[in-house]
């Protein structure tokens, strides 16, 4: 009897405390790729822009920096991934306020908004002569990245780098603000044709030149979104930058010409190929997979805002009743609260609306550009991160690590408050998709990141 009890006790002891199920550490490898010098090219998405601004925290969670952090696990001798960091609030950004018992997005320039950091105006000056790995520029179009045509040395250099030239002897000063988010790169001097004097300046440097000097061993290219997006988020209305004296005239919101796009996209990818770099090209997401476009529809205005009819101004400036195929853009929310669009006399403006014809134009253009991206990537042997298909699939709603997400505004958990750019959790989802494609194409096994480890929208 006693012996039996001993036996039982000893056996119990043997079984407890064993942990034989643990997995061994996975050996990481960069496979056939070399991540030594990873360069990311792209626009706002690449720069880490979100909540309608570039700020320190957001930038530190850009998808390229997430990818780089994980690449380093697969290839420890990888060079430091450098980003041109802003400080604190950076350019200023939107946040969510809680006013009179309801949540309200507050813009940077609203009362109580998160205003630009004191260092913002000077940001980029000290960085100009440094080398960065993340070459994202919020707002940049692909066609601004390569100076192919005769006027590119003027327009691209001015749009990206601004203009500040003084005509010799006469002393006339010509200035034009450039894209503030590209200030960390040197675009040289624009070639400007000044009346009487003729051409001055003319040592313009292109974005492509920076790519050529990047020493990339690996790249991700997600350029081209703004070649459609500017048109979309402005309801198809133009944004002209004109200076008659120096002969500058460009519509920043125009859909980029597809032949020009093809020529210039090829130049960028060829520049990487010539450096012997490996990499990934990404397609452009569908314009209807962002809450900026999809939040307000005829159905939602009728259901949530007591609209009987919804009146809009279409691309030909005709006023008509909206259909389910028309999108009222997010920046119309202020107008909605004032009853805009409830009557034929006070329709939503052309700028407020991406009407069905504009939406079709933009969708078709996206498909065309994606066809070009696929073709060129294929011709150089680079794999595609198909963000078009990926984001389209996510539109229906998805779950990561038990977190239910979709693309709806604020509660969807994917996008930041600007309704166009992901929040950090959304960027983590994007980074994981890039990592999946890289691993599949190059036999590497970069670990993915935990989506839940990145925050969604911050609630007050």
């Amino acid at each position: 009897m006693k012996k039996q009890l001993y036996f039982i006790v000893i056996t119990l002891g043997l079984f407890s405390g064993c942990k034989k199920t643990a997995f061994e550490t996975v050996e990481r490898t960069s496979g056939t790729a070399d991540f030594k010098q990873y360069i990311s090219v792209g626009n706002s998405l690449t720069q880490g822009y979100q909540d309608a601004g570039l700020y320190e925290e957001g930038q530190s969670m850009s998808y390229p920096s997430i990818i780089a952090q994980q690449m380093k696990i697969a290839q420890p001798n990888m060079a430091e991934f450098r980003q041109p960091m802003v400080s604190g609030n950076g350019s200023g950004y939107m946040h969510l306020g809680y006013i009179n018992g309801s949540l309200k997005p507050i813009s940077s320039d609203d009362p109580g908004g998160y205003q630009p950091d004191g260092s913002w105006d000077a940001w980029g000056q000290a960085e100009k002569n440094q080398k960065f790995n993340n070459l994202g520029i919020a707002g940049v179009k692909l066609i601004q990245c390569v100076n192919t045509y005769s006027d590119d040395n003027t327009t691209n250099a001015i749009i990206l780098g601004g203009l500040d030239v003084t005509v010799p002897i006469i002393g006339t000063n010509y200035t034009q603000d450039g894209n503030p988010f590209s200030r960390y790169l040197d675009f040289g001097e624009a070639e400007v044709n000044v009346p009487v004097i003729g051409n001055i300046g003319g040592t313009a440097k292109s974005y492509l030149d920076h790519v050529k000097e990047s020493n990339a061993t690996f790249f991700t290219c997600w350029l081209g979104n703004n070649d459609v997006l500017g048109y979309v988020v402005n309801g198809g209305t133009p944004n002209l930058v004109e200076n008659n004296t120096i002969g500058l005239s460009v519509d920043l919101n125009a859909l980029s010409d597809e032949f020009e796009f093809e020529e210039k996209y090829d130049e960028i990818i060829k520049a990487f190929k010539n450096q012997g770099a490996q990499g990934v090209c990404s397609t452009l997401p569908n314009v209807t997979s962002i809450p900026f476009v999809t939040t307000f529809t005829v159905a939602s205005l009728k259901a949530d805002y007591n609209y009987n009819k919804v009146w809009i101004t279409d691309l030909n400036e005709n006023v008509r009743e909206a259909t389910e195929e028309d999108y009222i853009l997010l920046h119309a929310s202020e107008g909605i609260s004032n009853g805009r669009g409830t009557s034929q006399a006070t329709p939503f403006t052309n700028y407020d609306v991406l009407d069905r014809d504009e939406a079709t134009l933009a969708k078709n253009h996206t498909l065309k550009l994606n066809g070009i991206i696929r073709k060129i990537a294929g011709s150089y042997g680079y794999p595609i991160a198909d963000m078009y298909t990926y984001m389209d699939n996510l539109s229906a709603g998805y779950t990561f690590e038990g977190i239910d997400m979709d693309i709806s505004y604020i509660q969807g958990g994917t996008f930041s408050l600007d309704g166009i750019h992901p929040n950090p959790r959304g960027y983590a989802v994007v980074a994981n998709e890039f990592i999946r494609v890289i691993n599949a194409a190059y036999n590497s096994n970069i670990p993915k990141v935990s989506v839940g480890a990145y925050r969604g929208i911050l609630f007050p």
């Binding site: 643990a22 809680y98 309200k104 939602s300 690590e401």
Partner: protein
Amino acid sequence: MKKIIFSALVMANLAAFAGGFQVNLQGVRSVAMGGAYVGLAHGPATTFFNPGGLTNIEGHRLSLGLNTIHPSISLQTEVNDNIDLTSSMSTPIYFYYGGQITEKLYVGFGINNQFGSSSSFEDNWQGRFIVQNISLKTFMFQPTVAYKIHDKISIGAGLVYTTGVFSYEKAVPLSSSSSADGKARLEGKANSISFNVGLYSKLIETDKIELGIGADYRSGMKLSLEEGLATFTNIPSSLTGTFPEQTNFKGEINLPSVTTAGLAFTYKFNEKNELTFVYDYALNGWSSYDTLAFDFENEATPDAKTPKNWKNAVAHRFGLEYKLDKLFFRVGTYYDQSPVEENNVSPEAPERSHMAPTFGFGMKVSDMIEFDISYINQRYSGETATGELGFEYKYNRRINVLSVSATITLGKNKNTSIEE
């Protein structure tokens, strides 16, 4: 500003409540033989397995059992090389009594823990939005009667009173400047009344062979939570209307019905040597699990998400026992079908259809006392693809179960005494 509704964001994927919770450890002799017992229906444990078999009891018999379950479960994801699940050793017990009252009337009583386990993960683990900690404890009390309706056929029925306590914690994906995630804790007590009926027949009984068959139906348990308590912490203050510090909830957890049919065949070589083969076929009615839903008193709180696609699952249980005078050597195996598609299984209880071997040993110390010991070694590995939880992982699962019991026999068989 559009009204913000968090319909999708939040609640529990309550798949966490089900998998791995059923404890098939209700008799050490049975455990050693793959879990089969319905056709054998021999000792006091038949109160649970097949009340009809109580008529096999000679005199008054008591059985006390203790199981020690040692789980070890590890996961690997594309993010983490290894995640060890911390499951405390659980120790379900049972007590059974069976006795003869009149020539044809028998009674039984059982106390056991049919469902229960507790698991937790390290704080801040990758799947915390699915489950952080979970625990379910149940106690069942079953008064039972059995009646010999024919020389070869008896029927038995018991009323099962169940009382259970559960708690469940998970992270809520809402961030504020002061806190990365919110937390939700659901806890409650529930009771239910269900029943257990069984039919038993000793079809053949000769000097050389015995054949018993049986069938049993244990009804599902509707554990209704009247006063469940949900506690939300670290919720951004603008959302405390949706997720208040505390709110009550009502709900129901439906534990499955179990229908079993089995047989036991014994060949007697001589007075001291016997070989017994047992087989049970069981159908676990997990499809009832579909109906799980929690309704919060605070109207703004979104109701809990229910798991989908649970299916009824079958089990096959085989066992052999060799009796050598006062010693019993047992071996068996079982095949358990998983009620849920592998991809949708909550990570604290990864499972798929599997087989496991069982072993056991029994010893009659005297006419009054018998000791039994059994051991199950369940181990398997698997890999899930993206399912409803959005959580892919590989897993290694190993569960050792050691069970011991003592069975005491008092008094004598009434038939015998009458004949004598």
